[in-house]
């Protein structure tokens, strides 16, 4: 039990997918101009990342590994992620068209989110068990969403700040995210490696 809690804690904070592994920087810069967009994107990514990790682990364990098709792993996982996003979109649309109208716009953005692919590949490379894979993916996704929300909050305040013209826009955003990465370095050494 303790190892699973540590695994999630490590994935969320110590080796944060954005600030520790530098994955998913495109949505980090793209959807954090507004807090509501960051929340929507974070939630959608959490769901897709976890489901894609489950599907990736299953395909790798039952198909790729037994038939020694490891060289097809990356392309297979890309296909799995695209299918997962499509599946999620269809399900949300079916469950509630109103919810889809509110939230559906974030889903296709996830298809090209390298953090989803990165996590699916990492958990296979680390030879995790099924439940560990789920918790690792969930922890990573929670860490991803946490950073999106924190960064969106900072950027909303930054929009009101008097920034020198040279730094206005993406440059100051990158400086802020680098400071955030420094803050997250405070978690280094905690939990499992």
């Amino acid at each position: 039990m303790k190892e699973y809690v540590l695994l999630m804690f490590t994935a969320a904070l110590v080796n944060n997918v954005i600030l520790g592994r530098f994955l998913g920087l495109c949505p980090t810069m793209g959807v954090t101009t507004r807090l509501d967009a960051a929340v929507g994107m974070g939630m959608a990514t959490t769901f897709v990342m976890t489901v894609a990790a489950i599907a990736g682990w299953t395909v790798n364990t039952l198909l790729l590994a037994p038939f020694e098709l490891g060289y097809l792993r990356t392309i297979t996982f890309i296909l799995i992620i695209a299918s997962t996003v499509q599946f999620t979109e269809m399900v949300v649309k079916k469950v509630s068209p109103e919810l889809f109208k509110l939230l559906g716009i974030y889903l296709p953005l996830i298809t090209t989110n390298c953090a989803v692919l990165g996590i699916a590949l990492l958990l296979v490379a680390d030879k995790m068990s099924f439940i560990a894979s789920i918790l690792f993916a969930l922890g990573s996704a929670i860490g991803f969403s946490l950073v999106l929300v924190i960064f969106a909050g900072l950027r909303e305040r930054l929009a009101l700040a008097d920034v020198p013209r040279l730094f206005a826009g993406p440059p100051i955003a990158f400086i802020v995210v680098s400071l955030l990465a420094l803050a997250f370095m405070g978690f280094s050494g905690m939990g499992a490696s």
Partner: protein, 166 residues
């Protein structure tokens, strides 16, 4: 002290997420609107290079996100309006669509692993958990819809040249 007060913003004040939409059709007392592309993707510094644009995300899918509101402001086709969704509604919608199925999925998987310790049984429990979560989501979404929580509200006509990010 006064200067300080003037330069701060009350972050608790706006409880509404605003967007801009164009009127595309008038159907009796209701109007159909298509939302304009927001600042999330199109205005990103990497918009020209981002792969998301190529597979048709925001702009190409906006047509599928048509919604209707009551025409109480004598709107005509082509008018641009500012509509709003309550901020907590977006959070509720996200929780309903994603967090509930995810929570039941993880709960079912954890219970199965703890009880049986077999990957195959855990996989089956995961699928069952997801299905149960989607069922609960459907019920909750229906409840939100029946209460009218998910409906966008007409706020005002958009000023000329006004965009989501302006």
């Amino acid at each position: 002290m006064d200067n300080y007060a003037d330069s701060t913003t009350d972050f608790s004040a706006p409880a509404m997420v605003e967007g801009i939409a164009s009127v595309v059709k008038i159907d009796g007392k209701t109007v159909w609107l298509v939302p304009e592309q927001g600042s999330s993707c199109g205005s990103c510094a990497s918009a020209t290079a981002c792969g998301s644009k190529g597979i048709g995300t925001t702009a190409s899918r906006l047509g599928n996100r048509r919604f209707r509101i009551d025409n109480n402001a004598n709107l005509a086709v082509g008018d641009r309006v500012v509509f709003g969704i309550r901020e907590n509604v977006l959070l509720k919608a996200s929780i309903t669509a994603y967090a509930i199925p995810l929570a039941t999925l993880v709960l079912a998987a954890s219970l199965a692993q703890w009880q049986f310790g077999s990957d195959l049984i855990t996989m089956a429990a995961t699928v069952v958990g997801l299905a149960i979560g989607l069922g609960i989501s459907r019920l909750e979404a229906g409840r939100l819809h029946s209460r009218g929580d998910l409906a966008p509200l007409f706020l005002r006509r958009a000023r000329p040249g006004e965009t989501c990010s302006s």
